[in-house]
Assembly symmetry: D2
Homo-oligomer: 312 residues x 4
């Protein structure tokens, strides 16, 4: 992708989603436009008002999995460019000089309040909660409000001056991460890296038992592993599902392209969301029979048979 001029993200500034944007190289000169929800972020890309969007897709505290998946499936003309994993944790911050004993009211996004409830009950029992619209505004409004401290993100110091961190990593789950997707307009996918992922949305042709199996055989017979599968009601009538899937590999890997061919023939609707490098960089192990070489050899063999070349 060329240098994007504008990217959209779930705002406000300073949230974990913007932290994910920090992982994308080459955005120094890019305008970052916060929007209200995932669908809006993607629509801006689809309609050309933005060049790319960062959206939370998994384990997010800022938006559910399914809303983002449904928005990806519903928005035409977009393509996933990369995925990013951000450690999701919380800090207790306060104006410089504040001590724990001074705190009576804590400003916090309601979800942050819930995620830190264990620590709060142990360390600051009985404090009042002042709801805030985001992890950033909770801290930004400290000077003008009734709260003495705020729950905020570890990077809040970049956005709000004059804060002390009184405690950090206070979320109840220390290992919590959110997975984000950086999504651009449809175009040729990047080069395969050997550690890629391909995201798809596939409808089943009918809802009989066994049809899901037929769909998954399209992957299994090509040695393509799935790292995510999720059924989502299509919504037009009961019992119809689409499946959101992440497959190991890149559309330019022969086995993945062949699985896509099989899916396309099988399904009334296949949406290709993109082939892009895995955030964890883990290379895919491919058995020899599913290697590009094996596909090319087989094609040569069938071509030879049709041409009548002498073969065994």
């Amino acid at each position: 992708m060329l240098q994007p001029r504008v990217v959209t993200f779930l705002g406000p500034r300073g949230t974990f989603t913007e932290a994910a944007l920090e992982q994308v190289p080459g955005l120094e000169l890019t305008e970052r436009v916060p929007v209200a929800n995932v669908a809006e972020a993607l629509t801006a890309v689809s309609e050309g008002r933005s060049d790319a969007a960062m959206i939370a897709i998994e384990n997010s505290i800022e938006g559910g999995v399914t809303a983002a998946q449904d928005a990806l499936a519903a928005t035409p003309g977009i393509r996933i460019i990369s995925e990013h994993v951000v450690s999701v944790n919380f800090s207790l911050v306060a104006p410089a000089g504040t001590r724990l004993d001074d705190i009576r009211v804590i400003a916090a996004h309601p979800v942050a309040w819930a995620q830190c409830s264990g620590w709060l009950q142990r360390e600051l029992p009985g404090r009042a909660h002042l709801p805030a619209a985001s992890n950033v505004t909770a801290a930004a409004d400290l000077g003008s409000g009734t709260a003495q401290a705020a729950l905020s993100t570890p990077t809040i110091g970049q956005w709000v001056d004059g804060l002390d961190v009184l405690a950090d990593r206070i979320g109840d789950n220390a290992d919590a991460v959110t997975r984000f997707l950086f999504v651009g307009r449809a175009g040729a996918p990047g080069e395969p890296t050997g550690a890629d992922k391909t995201s798809l949305v596939v409808e089943l042709p009918s809802d009989e038992p066994g049809v899901l199996l037929d769909m998954l055989e399209q992957f299994a017979t090509r040695g393509v592993n799935l790292s995510l599968i999720q059924s989502r009601p299509i919504g037009d009538r009961l019992g119809r599902y689409r499946f959101v899937m992440d497959a190991d590999g890149h559309i330019r890997d022969e086995r993945v392209a062949d699985a896509l061919l099989g899916l396309k023939r099988f399904s009334p609707s296949v949406t290709f969301l993109g082939s892009y490098p895995r955030a964890d960089g883990q290379r895919i192990h491919v058995e020899r029979r599913y290697s590009d070489r094996s596909f090319e050899d087989a094609r040569d063999w069938v071509r030879g048979l049709i041409a009548g070349e002498p073969t065994s």
Copy 2:
């Protein structure tokens, strides 16, 4: 289940989760205890402090799918008793006598604010947002705060007096529903109704391509349809998944019991979350070869062969 004495639910009182509790018969004398999150609601059941819990499981605005699914998978000794679907929409409420023109500041849970953004932009553009901790507190605090109106639930009038409804059904998606599960302690499942669902969490024995297929064949070879399948990382190491699944039918249906037998032999871990009536009451169509009768006939046949009875 006997009359429960105590049920837990994601608080506060008056939310959509409590609306779901209204659908459960026989709770007139039951104490309803609001708790901070889904895991806490289930743990209270598991540890005996509560007899049952109501949790949002799908499309919820009050909690993501995956957190609830993971909590169900992780909490021992619980069983789903019933499912409930609640229409999720929002009303704009204000102290009696308030007119739309009077409104400058609107109190709202941040998620409600986002879900009504379309209506707000059209009808009340430029109004300020006062974040609230829940759809109930947004309305309850109207008298004492700076907001003139609140986004709240359609049933808020049961909980807060003196309110006028200025607009209702103002959520951007008029058909939005949340699916809830009523969860009790492990025990014998209820009688089959012909319109049942069985919920399971299953681990795969390995992460090779094709193993997921082997698992799903356990259902397909018994004619059992899946209405939900969702992969969830197990979290102990990369690439290991468990699958959360809803299968059509009841554990006391022969085909479902047989699929469970197959799963149990196949998987290092199968968690049975319960067999319970579907919220939509839709009866399952079962082909004759998967009927209870067909299973019984086959068993008689094999018994006869082993006993050496004259058979064709």
Copy 3:
């Protein structure tokens, strides 16, 4: 195939195999060389001493299924050109003027004797059997031997003069047919007719349960039906099998070519025996998702995705 100069067949002249040769057009000027067994007939083609061979492949009274299948699998450089079905029945013949009452001894190939045992017991009980080396020599030697009549083929009159047919269609199974294959040297297969068959020999990569299933999925996921499948021990060590298969369709049908690609990647050894018109002329019904058009559309779609063309 050009006009063959020499064809081999399981002799002697006048047998059902030669009757099958009558069904092949364009053999008027061709030398027909009888040989002792199927392997010899095929080897003559493979080594260039013959241009084609006619061999019985199924339900034959002149050779078992498996010997012919094993010879097809073992002989390199050959290709099936066409299949032919011959009604297999028997006549009782005798020198002109012979009456049934005159018959004391009947010359017959042992297999023919067995196949007519029902009729013989009813109509000519107690007659002696003089074994003959073929259905033809049984009749040809009548003049010089001790037998008064012979069991022979319906067409024996073409080969031996001066015979009366005393009874015909006396085989115990009136509908018996033998299926024959006309086999030439490897070369480009003929044009698809819409009513074709493709014959293959495939080895499994291992003998674990489920590997046969993986092989058959290569056909099923492309909508290719099998009209014959037969396991044959490979013979190098216990438990290893090859599979002789007839698939509906022609290698130049996209779905068959694609199944061959899948087989080639899967199996340590795939032998293509040929694509040729079915003897029964029955056209293959192909679902739209397995049509050539569906394969071409899917390829265009994937090519477009890789090229970054705007697609849905």
Copy 4:
């Protein structure tokens, strides 16, 4: 089985089929009745005129595979008791004192003549062939006929006195064996030995691609390996097949019984031909998940769930 009084076999006496009978213990006092073909041998059992029959089932020189398989499928009320493998080779025999140089005419069953053609061409080129009705009569008639020698079985000395063996093991394939089945009336199968085989004939419910796969999944999902599979046209109308199969294991092994249950529900017709010890005595390796124990554990688990016992 009790001591049988009468057994039928494909005659005449002294053939390889009778050699197979020698492998069955406890037939010392049993009357052995030769019959003309496989169907007759089995019908005699089915109708109670015989207690058991020995028939050649594979690689036989005395009858094709398919005729015997079709007869097994068609004859009601029978059950395979055991299988037997006989080395099939030929000896050149002659009245005591005969030298190779004396031989001008050789009596031989036509199939034996074909099977020894390589040796005959090398060692006795140009000798005449006197067709015989069996390998036994070829030798037995040497005294009274025009032949100086005969092709016969290695055991012919038990049946015909005064013969010298001039050459043995002269068949073109030194390793040739025939597999025989000893078939009795339907009754309780013998005890499992850990090295057993189960033979079945199964019809497919329809001829769509994928239905064969569904059938084989009944075996694969229970870890049951197939050592033989063969499609046979049913014959009532085109395109309908039955499948003759040998599965590893015994009907009293849980995994085999469970596969039979699955087949019975799936297929319009399943014929159980018997569970019996393998001729090669090779023990079946069973993965733990397919062991009897695994089946029993899974049943206990499902029973506990239904009863509401506390389980994980």
